[in-house]
């Protein structure tokens, strides 16, 4: 009898203690960490595998810490399977294309956004609606006519061909216009009264005041091209003019490619984006959040 009460007392005490433990919080933290592992593990795998010989990568269980730095992977990644050094050239191509597109997008989008937000002219709303309408046309639906245009102009295998369809984006124009709508017109008028030309106003007053949007837009356009596989796939056949996504898909196809070199290519191809990301993560995250403002 007494034993039983003691036992029940004890268990209720234990129960009480258990109830005090914030189970929900622990569970949520656990889930957050599981998700974290899921998100980060493939990245860690990429980096560690790039330092291992292929025999270690496909060994079960996977060893997470490389025994030593297997430099041959990186050598092979840069040289390519046939030793033709197309990889550095392709990285350069990607950089040229992505930087140019980022530059022209920022320039043209801010110019157009400024024109639409701060000037009154006939047909302004029509132009704005027209540009917005192009957002509904997916690139995938127009790639074949574009391809025909590119072949007609004989700009396959050129930088011009890679860049031309992406000079400016409707979303960029939209973003710039929305941002500049709130820009006080008094500044512009003051500058005009002081005798500043319209181009001077644009480059010296409007552009410097748009840096956050410019950064987000620049990053979005840069990564859009860094990531672009479909269009280069259509118009580039020349190995020398290929961009990184094309190189990776070709490198992965080749029989001679081993797993370590593959991951070394992946690491090297991601370095520019990661540098951008860690230097400007505010704008990356902001770029994601910008879509929020689209509903307004």
């Amino acid at each position: 009898m007494t034993d039983k009460t003691i036992a029940s007392n004890r268990s209720s005490g234990l129960l009480f203690a258990l109830k005090r433990v914030p189970w929900a919080r622990i569970l949520i933290w656990f889930l957050l960490i599981v998700m974290l592992v899921f998100c980060v593990m493939p990245l860690v795998f990429m980096v560690t595998a790039s330092m291992m010989p292929a025999s270690d990568i496909i060994k079960m269980p996977y060893r997470w810490i490389p025994r030593d730095f297997h430099v041959e992977n990186y050598v092979k990644a840069i040289k390519g399977n046939d030793g033709s050094f197309t990889f550095p050239r392709n990285i350069l191509n990607s950089l040229i294309v992505a930087l140019t597109v980022a530059f022209t997008t920022v320039l043209l989008a801010s110019l157009t956004g400024y024109g639409l937000a701060k000037f009154r002219f006939r047909g302004r709303n029509f132009v704005f609606m027209m540009i917005m309408a192009t957002m509904m046309i997916p690139f995938e639906a127009i790639m074949i006519p574009l391809y025909m245009v590119a072949t007609g102009l004989h700009i396959q295998n050129t930088y011009l061909g890679l860049i031309l369809p992406f000079l400016v984006s409707a979303f960029g124009v939209f973003q710039m216009r929305q941002y500049l709508l709130t820009f006080p017109g008094e500044f512009l008028d003051a500058a005009r009264v002081d005798g500043m030309g319209e181009i001077g106003i644009f480059t010296k007053i409007v552009l410097p005041n748009c840096t956050p949007v410019i950064a987000t837009l620049g990053i979005l356009s840069f990564r859009g091209q860094w990531d672009n596989l479909l269009w280069p796939l259509l118009i580039v056949q020349d190995e020398k003019m290929k961009t990184i996504p094309l190189y990776i898909s070709k490198f992965a196809e080749e029989k001679a490619t081993d797993e370590g070199a593959m991951m070394a290519v992946a690491v090297l191809a991601s370095i520019p984006m990661f540098i951008l990301f860690f230097a400007l993560s505010k704008y990356f995250i902001g770029g994601a959040a910008v879509y929020e403002s689209r509903k307004g």
Partner: protein, 305 residues
């Protein structure tokens, strides 16, 4: 007199406005409107890339052909399966994790989780697919982790060999790449809900669970709808993952032959531009309907506090 000079300035300024707008307008005419009209036009002809003969007018022949072809319907199925199978988990999990992070974490750890979840999105989709091809290979991490979790050593899950698993694998890659992006979208959305509403609800005795369903979800409805339509449009356009899996990974094409892959194959590989254009137009119409739905929905559902 005064009025006329004023009008002159206005006119002069208007000219500058037009000058600023013209380059982009020209661009969009040449690289958006012309191609889509051209695609509509081409879809009515039997056009091939290298053929010198004049293209034959087919009327709706290409559409009839694709609507009868098994490969087109297989692509529609693959695209639909991929879209639903990706965007629903993305939506549910990103909302869930955004709520967790928003409610549990302090400012520092919130920033940390946001960045950590977002890192996969920094990789290009081709790199992402290349990594997952290795992870999902028979001796790869995918089997090891799953077997360790299920306590079934040595079972090959056939991630890339089995048709169903292959579809699941492509969804997994996409989910992994975009979860952080959508978590951030939802956290931004959550931050716009005034905390006083939650405080009032808590004082009235509402539990966390009730607060979530009765406050967060209704107030976040515009964001949820926006994000879901955006995710759907993204998923409909998926290409890189499927291309890399079939080209480089040697996976079977049929289960994951999404519409964009099919357009590419038909138009470029098989040089049937007319048919490919017809498929493009079908894709365009689907996306147009979805975008209009988005506009309609997001207009009618704005919340004011």
């Amino acid at each position: 007199m005064k009025k006329t000079t004023y009008r002159g300035i206005e006119k002069k300024q208007a000219r500058w406005g037009v000058a600023f707008v013209v380059p982009s307008v020209l661009f969009f005419c040449l690289f958006s409107f012309y191609p889509i009209i051209n695609a509509m036009f081409t879809s009515l002809f039997d056009k091939r890339i290298l053929s010198l003969a004049a293209p034959k007018f087919l009327g709706l022949g290409n559409y009839i052909y694709i609507f009868k072809s098994a490969s087109f319907w297989n692509s529609m199925r693959a695209t639909l399966v991929f879209t639903l199978g990706t965007f629903i988990p993305l939506l549910v999990f990103s909302l869930m994790f955004a709520t967790f992070i928003y409610n549990i974490c302090g400012r520092r750890s919130r920033g940390f989780f946001q960045i950590a979840y977002y890192t996969p999105a920094v990789l290009s989709s081709v790199v992402a697919a290349a990594i997952w091809l290795l992870i999902l290979a028979p001796p790869g991490l995918g089997n090891q982790v799953l077997n360790w979790l299920c306590r079934t050593p040595g079972v090959d899950r056939k991630w890339l060999a089995n048709g169903t698993m292959l579809q699941f694998s492509t969804m997994l890659v996409y989910f992994w790449k975009y979860i952080g992006y959508f978590v951030i979208l939802f956290i931004t959305g959550l931050a716009t809900i005034p905390p006083t509403i939650y405080e009032a609800a808590t004082i009235d005795g509402s539990s966390k669970w009730q607060s979530f369903w009765r406050i967060t979800v209704p107030l976040l409805k515009p964001t949820i709808l926006l994000v879901s339509v955006m995710a759907m449009l993204q998923c409909l356009k998926t290409f890189s993952t499927q291309y890399l899996f079939t080209q480089s990974g040697g996976a079977a094409q049929d289960p994951i032959n999404v519409i964009t892959l099919n357009i590419y194959e038909t138009g470029i590989r098989n040089q049937r531009i007319g048919r490919a254009s017809a498929m493009s137009i079908v894709l365009f119409v689907i996306m147009l309907v979805l975008t209009f739905a988005q506009f309609k929905i997001s207009k009618s559902d704005d919340v004011d506090y």
